[in-house]
Symmetry: D2
Amino acid sequence: MLIVMQAQAGEEQVRAVCQKIELMGYRPHTVAGAGQTAVGIAGNTGEVNASAFEGMPGVAEVVRVTKPYKLVSRDFHPDNTVIRFPCSGAVIGGSELTVIAGPCSVESREQLFAVAERMAAQGVRFLRGGAFKPRTSPYAFQGLGESGLQLLVEVRERFGLLIVTEAMDESSLELVERYADVIQVGSRNMQNYSLLKQVGRATKPVLLKRGMSATLEEYLLAAEYILNEGNQQVILCERGVRTFADHMRNTLDLSFVPAAQQLCHLPVIVDPSHGTGRSDKVLPLSRAAVAVGADGLIVEVHPVPERALSDGAQSLTCDQFDEVMAQIRPIAALVGRSVPAPLSTAAATLAASR
Amino acid sequence: MLIVMQAQAGEEQVRAVCQKIELMGYRPHTVAGAGQTAVGIAGNTGEVNASAFEGMPGVAEVVRVTKPYKLVSRDFHPDNTVIRFPCSGAVIGGSELTVIAGPCSVESREQLFAVAERMAAQGVRFLRGGAFKPRTSPYAFQGLGESGLQLLVEVRERFGLLIVTEAMDESSLELVERYADVIQVGSRNMQNYSLLKQVGRATKPVLLKRGMSATLEEYLLAAEYILNEGNQQVILCERGVRTFADHMRNTLDLSFVPAAQQLCHLPVIVDPSHGTGRSDKVLPLSRAAVAVGADGLIVEVHPVPERALSDGAQSLTCDQFDEVMAQIRPIAALVGRSVPAPLSTAAATLAASR
Amino acid sequence: MLIVMQAQAGEEQVRAVCQKIELMGYRPHTVAGAGQTAVGIAGNTGEVNASAFEGMPGVAEVVRVTKPYKLVSRDFHPDNTVIRFPCSGAVIGGSELTVIAGPCSVESREQLFAVAERMAAQGVRFLRGGAFKPRTSPYAFQGLGESGLQLLVEVRERFGLLIVTEAMDESSLELVERYADVIQVGSRNMQNYSLLKQVGRATKPVLLKRGMSATLEEYLLAAEYILNEGNQQVILCERGVRTFADHMRNTLDLSFVPAAQQLCHLPVIVDPSHGTGRSDKVLPLSRAAVAVGADGLIVEVHPVPERALSDGAQSLTCDQFDEVMAQIRPIAALVGRSVPAPLSTAAATLAASR
Amino acid sequence: MLIVMQAQAGEEQVRAVCQKIELMGYRPHTVAGAGQTAVGIAGNTGEVNASAFEGMPGVAEVVRVTKPYKLVSRDFHPDNTVIRFPCSGAVIGGSELTVIAGPCSVESREQLFAVAERMAAQGVRFLRGGAFKPRTSPYAFQGLGESGLQLLVEVRERFGLLIVTEAMDESSLELVERYADVIQVGSRNMQNYSLLKQVGRATKPVLLKRGMSATLEEYLLAAEYILNEGNQQVILCERGVRTFADHMRNTLDLSFVPAAQQLCHLPVIVDPSHGTGRSDKVLPLSRAAVAVGADGLIVEVHPVPERALSDGAQSLTCDQFDEVMAQIRPIAALVGRSVPAPLSTAAATLAASR
């Protein structure tokens, strides 16, 4: 913590600040700058309360210099966190690019199987699909609930895909934890601290999406809530933030990826579907996300997007998804990432007929 | 819904759009503009799925013309909603300016009584104070929980103040609903739809704070969730939004007040404490909030802000709060609002000694 | 300047930073925080180049602690700047609330006289009206140019109103400086440094509008450009900033007023017309702007807004303007500001017939 | 234009809107939606004034359906604009990826030659370097002026690089147009309409950088100003926008690239140096910019960034620039773009010794 004094602050005001620091049990260090004095605090082992100084006479500004998060930081855990799924051999955060694909909402067995078959043929290992849907309007489709989860399990059994699906609250979390392989926490719940603590006690990895207007620090602190409860398996996901720009649904902040990777050891994936809101922009932004160095992608795919009960405008068709996979494979290779090979047609047909 | 065609769209593309509208059971109305054609949809009784048209050849844009909310709208309920608290005579949304004041967090009986006595002396009817605190960092003070609620009840009994306190999840809601008079839902939970549905079934009024980056429409839809479950007693609260501006903690959006009041019948109050994050700016912004026509204010007051366990930098001292009350009284009168008179010193002393 | 080291930075990295500071001729001061070290710089008389340190091994962050502006600062000039117009007795920045009103664009003598007569009747001292218009579209009305300025001069002669009008470039500035009493620099030119330097050498006061997304610091630095050329008569104007919020044309940032007044000695006025973009919202936000403590208002008024060649949607009618004046007078009085009295009907008629 | 009526609007209010449309010489088309009526306008050849309707009783909203720009639009000019530099064989907007590199400011012959030699060795065709610098602070280095331009010309003669440099106003434009190959207009001047008109009459191509908070539409309208004066050779440049996010200097909006390319025929390049503000983030964002499909890159390179007089923190060293080139070449190939080959060491040495 650094307390910056006003240019016209008198010596006695600087002294009062130093005395307060000493009263708190710390040591003040005075630094005289160009026309201004600053007082540093040493000897503290935790965070110092800035507001104790903000109102004092002569104080211009209080600058925090220690990061408020710890467990998510590379200072604490220098190596990348790699999340392993032993039964399937899949990993998130390793050298293989993670691709998570599937419909926004689970709507029917037909819909889910149609998508899953095409995913599996591409070698994709993770299927996304919402059974509990946080919707802006109370009148919009709210998801199939537990029967949606059961359909996801059928798909896992048939195609060997791991399931990523969202939990919205304590009761849906209990179900999601039971059925799914990865628990998703949505953007609107990024600062739902009760839910964060609950998933922090869960035994499954958590995909925590960035809030609509979350700073990097707030986002890392939200992840810190989860790690602090004991669950170390957290995946970050940039999905576009809210800005003045109106040419896309959100502004996809790809610089977030290397910025987060530098400070934090958790895997960072990108959601170009929510990040753009428009299916024809998912392809170029998927290429860019892989090129920037993301650990993976999560994209929405629907067999017939125009009939989707949610997010149709941003869902790829299965053919468009194949094109995304075809275009990102060589870019992934250039940035040192492998991508599972597509199954040969024969193998894919066989897999589908299991 | 209006489907705007591209300038170079051919007749057959316009025809395809019209046919799709007819297939959906609606009637297309073609409007030829300057160099561009648009097709309106008539005959629909609910919302039409925009994504059905967004991908069609020749379509430039799909424009929604019907508001997606209903119960919160003045179209549906033209008169102001007035929330009454029969036992105390207090109202929110009526001609009396509502003032809600108190500490960010309930910390101790001493703290709470010190503030409450001064509030009561000012004629204030509502005490705020958090027992369950959503904090950005997992290491920050998280509130006293139920024992904090019990302290609030003691204050209600002693000073006759109504209690406003936050619920964060199902379990805290159960307690808050039992102890408090108004259930607060915080900014970070504005789109926690599970919590919104739960408070929608509660029997107490709900103070729903605006999300950090919520548009007016998203905010009204969040309120719509509550009304749709049966609870008509919702209070909106502008508390600053997140922008690029860094001279305050948030950017207080006072134009929100008349904008919301025009579209929506619910009371709209303003939180200049979170809206600025700095105690010395609460006074001028409180004056402005009353002048713009807000139905009330919610402000943070602490007997010794520099010792506050949360939000000290934005908390008023009791003396500063008295000054806020003194300055807003005549402004309230100018915009047609009454403010309860301060108790005479004698009466205040008597009240405190009850 | 404070160089914050990474938690894992070694002693030799801290030493390298200290050596670099010494090489630059300054003195390093090491401050050991909780798990991290910071190095302060002392002995510098001007700004230190942050980038000299940002790339060094072990450096986490470089924090600037000295404000980069000087002439606009209260540290340099503690008293309010009051701009006086001797011939008319008007002031800006004094205890009288400054009201500047008039049409967005000068369109015709009839238009201008119709508005000016009503302004004068209200005791208003400043008429705004653009002769050179910066328009988002090249196809929109670009202003009458010099003949517009001549119409403004006719109005000054007839009604005694002082003229505020915009200069866009060197050639229009020459004309504006000759004809007008206050030179306006628009939001889009807030960082047009060539223009700022030119108006800094002008002999008339400058009304510098805040840029669409200017931080307080950038705005003060833009004003610093003008003062640095010798012109001390600068008026700041909050006119709404660009955010995600879409219920108004811009988000009026009223907290800017006390924040700027605290750091800077220049007068600060508010433009609720551009700040909202909607005429029916100008009245409540005008009240709020006066209540927050602004030194004045600038509002758009048009005799027939629906026929305005620019900004019709946000222009008040003359009757609406009368209502604004009626409502802000008593609020101004409450915050210690006088407002010139309206002329009696007789006097106004007489004035108009001069 | 579509006028949307309020739900409770009466028939006579709809009729009044229709009559007004007819009075303006257009034809009204009534569209009855779910509970609301909308009135379309047909028969207009130019833009209709929205404000004529916004204040009318019963009107909820006025929706514009025609884009306000024309010359920059693909509706008007479906093919890509390709800007050719006949003497050098370079193009912008063609199949070859354009790379523009060089220091933020021209500081000295040594600095410029050191960078240019390395650029030329990479096959780069365009050198950037500012001689006139728009700086946030009046106390920061403002550029060498004409002598800087002369140094740039020396470099062109020695290394065959084309010169891109910024003009800030009429007088610097005259010089820049004489010396440079491409005239840059900076972000802060994106809505300096006087300058836009002047460069619109220039005979050299214009690199127009996106404003800090410019929407796509505003940006295209700024380009429209230039085309409307006769200069068809305009290059757009995404350079990061201003948002709440604070982990980078700006938020690089890569979705802008495909969005602009879809609507507009002009080349679109990306500036990852300003877009991130941090040299270590330029590499990953350069890869992403090429992958998303940009027509080119503009990056800052300095022989010794820590001694740079401006923008040192975001400048690459020459070695880092080589790495950027090495990494983007194969990505460019994947998206169908060629990149000029680096000269062989021998050829480069020869070129430098010419």
